[in-house]
Amino acid sequence: MLYSIGKDSSVMVRLAQKAFYPGKIPFPLLHIDTTYKFREMIEFRDRFTAEIGARLIVHTNWKAIQDGANPFRLGTQKCCGLLKTRALLDALQAGGYDAAFGGARRDEEKSRAKERVYSFRDSFGQWDPKNQRPELWNLYNSRVDKGESIRVFPLSNWTELDVWQYIHLENIPIVPLYFAKDREMVVRGGTLIPVEQDIPLLPGERPQMVMCRMRSLGCSPCTGAIRSTADTVPKIIEEMMLFRRSERENRVIDHDQEGSMEIKKREGYF
């Protein structure tokens, strides 16, 4: 199961716990660590997986990092390509996995609306939106040849509200970054960028304390925060319903080019 440490991953882990109860989750959790994740995410990951007794595999594209891959130098597109997409494909290949669970939802982004629950990837890990297997009823076709794989998206039909509601009802632990508090931020082009990972400051920029929270968790240099005072799950839900803004809005990478999520997905990104 691909484990991103985000709220959707937390929900998936809970569903897996329920599905195999009273047994343990029979497969490992795989985290693709770009080394640019928030400190709080890594702390949460290690504590949470230890608590539930899950097996955790962490994979990093160290070669690219040693070659100096970072978002400031390469730009977000190239950086994601190396540290997320490449790293993910390598990790799946190294493990010999023919299937991997992901937490993607169809309501997140336009190109995901046509994603299958069982999404076929060829031996290069690529998704072909024109050539997807028909998916009827709940009869899923999991057949693959050697080298090919299936990404399985159990949360396909969940909405953002469903995810939050479930977290609330089930009391599922999530990374504290989702909750509002005073954080050190740089205000850049209307986006709040957290001061972490030695982010290079542009001329005239100065960090300031801002009451804010993250709506989605990615790498700290590429994840914007929103101004918010929502420090509990019900308040987050309330806020979400008031704002009605898509959660991906604050991820810089989805806006770097028209249809960019679809391009990343064809290449193997989630």
């Binding site: 599905a19 109860y21 046509k114 024109k130 028909p134 009451m211 308040k235």
Partner: protein, 527 residues
């Protein structure tokens, strides 16, 4: 961006409780390219405030083109048409909705079937200017085939026909006549304009003559709770949980009926019986489980059970057979051929299977049965299937969960067909004589000896018409030859004069007697 003031937490708790209890309605939409389907969905999402503002902003910088809200993929934006099944989500204070948006193209039957397979309700769009076109008939047919319980016929673009009631009435009459042959019983007609919003979310001021519900109102209130099969207990085993020596549980999703501790159950295929000891979940044991709950069941006796087995009510078991009859929607460029090997996935089991025979192809516009040696992409036919191991099934009409299957090509691993089981194959002993019914099934029409009193040219013109309509037909000059031909299953046109001899029909009776068109199709239940 200013931070909005947050009302107190008690309100949101109330909201969440209500939201949790909301029913979910899954609907499929289908329409031709120009029917305004995407605009209608865009309107539903937009007017019910389901569209996130920034997604809208990314789509269009100036004017909102509602169709672009649903047309996702890059290639499609370039082509300007929707080409696959896209799922959209919205909710109102009364219900949650999932829309499976499918294209209305002739060649995309497979997508429409996919969207329809999980739907409670289908919206069939009709362009008020064009009336009931082939595509609308196709949608209605597929909706009936896939067993969608509720149909809304949305007669769109009423603004372009001056909101006239007579246009609406005549389309309603025409559609109803067609739908009655399909056995569709819950039909609801709504005149609307997706572009202007008339009768979508708000009642139309332009059509005071319409007193029915607007679309959203109907979607929010159509009763769906009773659509589920709660009569026939079926629990296909998905996974055997054996975390330690003291626990042995069978995990799966309840397909139909209720399960309660103490219930007697029979295990298929072994037919051994036991009692339900407990229904185990992460949140504690349950007193009862029903569809669509996923649970783990433990039994009082140690029985060897594996994935693909099924727990059923012993007094009300499903059919168990290796020979089944089914209607198949073919979804692959490589045609379905008799004798080829496929993998058949049904509930939680996957078995090798082959198509024993193609009974007939169903011609989708006139619903005629035609003889066929193969089923091509997007064709629909009745087939006999033989499986390597028995299936435990119910007819699809009675139970969607245990009556549905998919066919997989073992060489390419593609999903190539979707099937709806109609029953077991009735087996005759070998050497049994060919019956009129078998000839009928093979040829797609009944046999007849036709007494024709016109001249030879007229007879051959009739022959041509019938032949082009898919019939096997000849023109003969003696009553004896006509009788022999009819015995062989043909429609035999005999040139004669005066009153018809015994056993002959007149040309004008062909349709009324159900020899051609109409009759062979038995209204859903038989296909």
């Amino acid at each position: 961006m200013a931070t909005a003031t947050l009302p107190n937490t008690a309100d949101i708790e109330t909201f969440l409780r209500q939201n949790e209890e909301k029913e979910l309605l899954r609907l499929s939409t289908a329409g031709s390219v120009d029917d305004g389907k995407s605009t209608l969905i865009g309107r539903l999402l937009y007017d019910s405030k389901g569209i996130y503002e920034d997604q809208l902003a990314a789509i269009s910088k100036d004017k909102v083109d509602l169709a672009l809200v649903t047309d996702g993929l890059r290639a499609e934006r370039e082509q300007g048409i929707t080409i696959d099944v896209a799922y959209r989500y919205f909710s109102t204070p009364r219900r949650k909705f999932i829309i499976a948006d499918t294209p209305g193209h002739e060649q995309y039957t497979r997508n429409m079937a996919t969207g329809a397979s999980t739907a409670n309700l289908a919206i069939i769009l009709v362009d008020a200017r064009n009336g009931v076109l082939a595509q609308s008939r196709r949608h209605a047919f597929i909706a009936s085939l896939l067993g969608i319980p509720h149909i809304v016929v949305a007669i769109n673009k009423m603004d372009l026909v001056d909101f006239r009631q007579d246009v609406f009435d005549s389309i309603q009459a025409e559609f109803s006549a067609f739908a009655s042959r399909l056995g569709l019983d819950d039909l609801y007609f709504i005149p609307l304009s997706a572009l202007l919003g008339d009768n979508v979310v708000e009642p139309s001021r332009n059509m005071p003559w319409y007193s029915g519900q607007c679309l959203l109102d109907h979607l929010e209130t159509v009763p769906i709770a009773t659509d589920r099969n709660l009569a026939d207990m079926r629990f296909p085993v998905q996974y055997v949980l054996r975390p330690n020596l003291d626990f042995r549980g069978y995990a799966g999703q309840v397909a139909s009926g209720f399960i309660q501790p103490g219930d007697e159950v029979m295990v298929l295929p072994s037919r051994r019986t036991s009692r339900v000891r407990s229904i185990v979940t992460y949140d504690g044991d349950l007193p009862k489980a029903f569809p669509p709950m996923s649970v783990t069941v433990t039994l009082e006796h140690e029985i060897d059970i594996s994935r693909g087995d099924m727990l059923v009510a012993p007094e009300n078991p499903p059919l168990v057979d290796r020979h089944i009859e089914a209607t198949v929607v073919w979804m692959n460029a490589r045609p379905l051929e008799p004798k080829r090997q496929y993998l058949l996935k049904h509930t939680t089991q996957q078995v090798r299977a082959s198509v024993a025979a193609i009974r007939h192809r169903i011609e989708i516009h006139g619903l005629r049965h035609e003889a066929a040696a193969e089923l091509k992409l997007n064709e629909i036919g009745a087939v006999a299937i033989e499986t390597f191991r028995p299936l435990y099934f119910d007819p699809y009409r009675r139970n969607r969960a245990t009556g549905a299957f998919i066919l997989i090509d073992p060489l390419t691993n593609e999903t190539v067909g979707a099937g709806m089981i109609t029953g077991s194959t009735e087996r005759e002993s070998s050497g049994h004589r060919v019956t009129a019914e078998e000839r009928h099934a093979r040829l797609g029409h009944r046999a007849a000896a036709v007494w024709f009193t016109g001249d030879a040219d007229e007879a051959h013109a009739l022959e041509r018409r019938l032949f082009d309509g898919g019939c096997v037909v000849n023109v003969v000059t003696s009553a004896a030859m006509a009788r022999v031909s009819a015995e062989a299953g043909l429609i035999s046109i005999c040139l004669g004069a005066g009153d018809p001899p015994d056993g002959f029909v007149l040309p004008e009776d062909l349709e009324a007697l159900g020899i051609i068109d109409g009759e062979p199709f038995t209204g859903g239940a038989g296909i």
